[in-house]
């Protein structure tokens, strides 16, 4: 525990000093990575832990973004009121995900959540486009803070706060129960635990994180559109960040988000257009093939190797090492 906390502290210090070390342009890449990390962690606490794979996370992020955007843009609501309302509404929407989870599992659940995203994508364009901005969306939204450095710190501390909170929860008995649900839900029921209650909590918690990320992201960009928010590529970025980093670990999605964003953004001057996506796909494939549990396990293995421990973090037996 102490060792992990010192890693968090080191990471916080390092990331906090970034504005002194890198250009404003690079800082914007870090801001994007921080938001992807928030969304990927939100996905992880629900799907990575319980095994209920959500393909509809942009739906939750979009509900948060659109609610706050409409309130501020159309009703001149101040941000300190619109943002909590948007987050609360996202938590309600997150519990909507829960109802199909009572009856469906696996692929069917994933498809139901994908349908949530698709339906919302069309609804925001056709229902009251005068309010939602239709297919063009809404622009000129109030910004939470201005300037790259300020925005970087908002995104960084939101990400760190959420990351540390979820990481602590995941290391508690809650993480154990949610993981057990993924492994064998019926066996968890047979151990006397009401899995519905724990799932509802995970769904609402995931929505809370998606809601916080959604409102901050929207008021960082200053605009929102259905094509940008309910986009399958946006969904895949979140999913791949969580998977490539290492699902059900919380730290993995942060690693994955940074890895993916850096890969895409920093290779931009060197690899043209769609070739970049080809490289991105190939690297993702190689990681899946050789480290199916994600980058997190590689980092863990290297750390344990340096400390002279085996993969499970136990001291090497001198007989077998």
């Amino acid at each position: 525990m102490k060792k992990s906390l010192s890693w968090w502290l080191l990471f916080t210090v390092l990331m906090s000093s970034m504005p002194l070390l890198i250009s404003t342009r690079s800082l914007r890449i870090f801001i994007f990575a921080n938001f992807i990390a928030i969304f990927a962690m939100s996905w992880d606490i629900l799907s990575g832990y319980t095994g209920y794979i959500s393909f509809g996370h942009p739906f939750l992020i979009g509900i948060a973004g659109y609610t706050s955007a409409i309130l501020t843009h159309q009703f001149a609501t101040p941000l300190y009121i619109s943002m909590p309302i948007a987050i609360l509404l996202t938590m309600v929407a997150g519990s909507l995900f829960f109802f199909p989870a009572l009856r469906t599992r696996g692929t069917y659940f994933a498809l139901v959540t994908l349908a949530f995203m698709e339906v919302t994508y069309h609804l925001v364009q056709v229902v009251r486009p005068d309010v939602t901005g239709g297919s063009r969306g809404l622009t000129g939204l109030p910004l939470l803070v201005t300037g790259a450095v300020q925005n970087y710190y908002v995104s960084l501390f939101a990400m760190l706060f959420i990351g540390l909170g979820l990481w602590a929860l995941a290391r508690s008995g809650l993480g154990t129960v949610l993981s057990a649900i993924r492994m064998d839900e019926d066996a968890v029921k047979s151990a006397g635990l009401n899995t519905s209650k724990f799932k509802l909590f995970a769904f609402t918690l995931s929505a809370l994180v998606a809601g916080i990320g959604g409102v901050l992201y929207t008021h960082y960009l200053g605009s929102i559109s259905p094509r940008g928010m309910f986009d399958i590529n946006f969904l895949f970025t979140i999913l791949i960040a969580a998977l490539i980093g290492g699902e059900h670990s919380i730290v993995g999605p942060i690693l994955g988000a940074y890895f993916l964003t850096f890969l895409l953004e920093f290779s931009r001057p060197y690899i043209p257009g769609s070739w970049r996506y080809l490289c991105y796909g190939m690297i993702a494939l190689i990681v899946y093939m050789y480290a199916p549990r994600g980058l997190f396990t590689i980092v863990n293995a290297v750390e344990n190797r340096i400390r002279g421990k085996n993969l499970r973090g136990e001291e090497y037996d001198s007989q077998t090492a």
Binding site: S172, A191, G192, K197
Partner: protein, 243 residues
């Protein structure tokens, strides 16, 4: 007079047009050890699934401590004091033995569960009480023998603090030595006051453990009584061996 701990009354479960359990009634008394035997496909595991609410009966009632529990979900029945093991062990594969047992100990409250951060003394005690060696407690299920996996199933159910244990094919896949060890353990638990219903095809191992036996065939009860009495029953011989 001993009280009835569990009572099944005219239980029926149909899959499509086939009766898996038909009009099945029996009871088990407090402190008793009941054997539930019958040929393959006779509805023994289905009966366990019905008792645990993993399946819903089409007809009939289930009473536990005199209370009708048909409307109660699995976790509520476990909290009342019924617990089961599975025919094919179902450990949480990515978790150590102690963590597997921890799932059984955990209270059904989110806030209390959040406060559980490290291994408790009780999970180790339960692990040791079912025969795990200290160095096995941090092992993962893929490192365990079938005997140890059965022990783990038992430990996880004991962790829920049951009054009634449903043991499904506990001796399957075990060596003679492991069967003896497990039998001793069950005798010990019986002495401590636990009530059992044991399903087993291994009648030789079952015989010394049970006070009474219920025999089912095609989902129906065909005989009931002491072990010696039922194995001598013509209907039972016919069910096992054919006419």
């Amino acid at each position: 007079m001993t009280a009835k701990l569990l009572e099944l009354n005219a239980l029926t479960k149909k899959f499509g047009g086939i009766f898996a359990v038909y009009d099945l009634s029996f009871h088990v008394e407090e402190g008793e050890s009941l054997g539930l035997i019958g040929p393959n496909g006779s509805g023994k595991t289905t009966t366990f699934n019905l008792i645990m609410s993993e399946l819903k009966q089409d007809e009939g009632n289930i009473f536990f401590k005199g209370k009708e529990i048909s409307g109660y979900p699995t976790h509520e029945r476990v909290k009342m004091g019924i617990s089961r093991t599975y025919q094919i062990p179902r450990p949480f594969g990515e978790m150590s033995v102690t963590k597997n047992i921890r799932i059984g100990i955990m209270p059904d409250e989110i806030l209390s569960v959040m406060r559980m951060h490290s291994a408790s003394k009780r999970e180790r005690e339960i692990g040791i009480s079912v025969g795990f060696k200290e160095h096995h407690l941090e092992a993962h299920p893929n490192e365990l023998s079938m005997g140890d996996l059965r022990r783990l199933e038992l430990a996880r159910t004991i962790a829920t603090n049951p009054k009634l244990l449903l043991l499904d094919e506990v001796f399957a896949g075990l060596t003679a030595g492991e069967i003896t060890e497990l039998s001793e353990l069950l005798k010990q638990k019986k002495k401590e006051g636990l009530t059992f219903i044991i399903v087993s095809h291994d009648l030789k191992s079952l015989a010394p453990l049970v006070d009474r036996v219920v025999v089912v065939s095609f989902g129906q009860r065909i005989a009931e009584g002491s072990f010696e009495h039922v194995v001598a029953d013509e209907k039972v011989k016919e069910a096992y061996l054919g006419k």
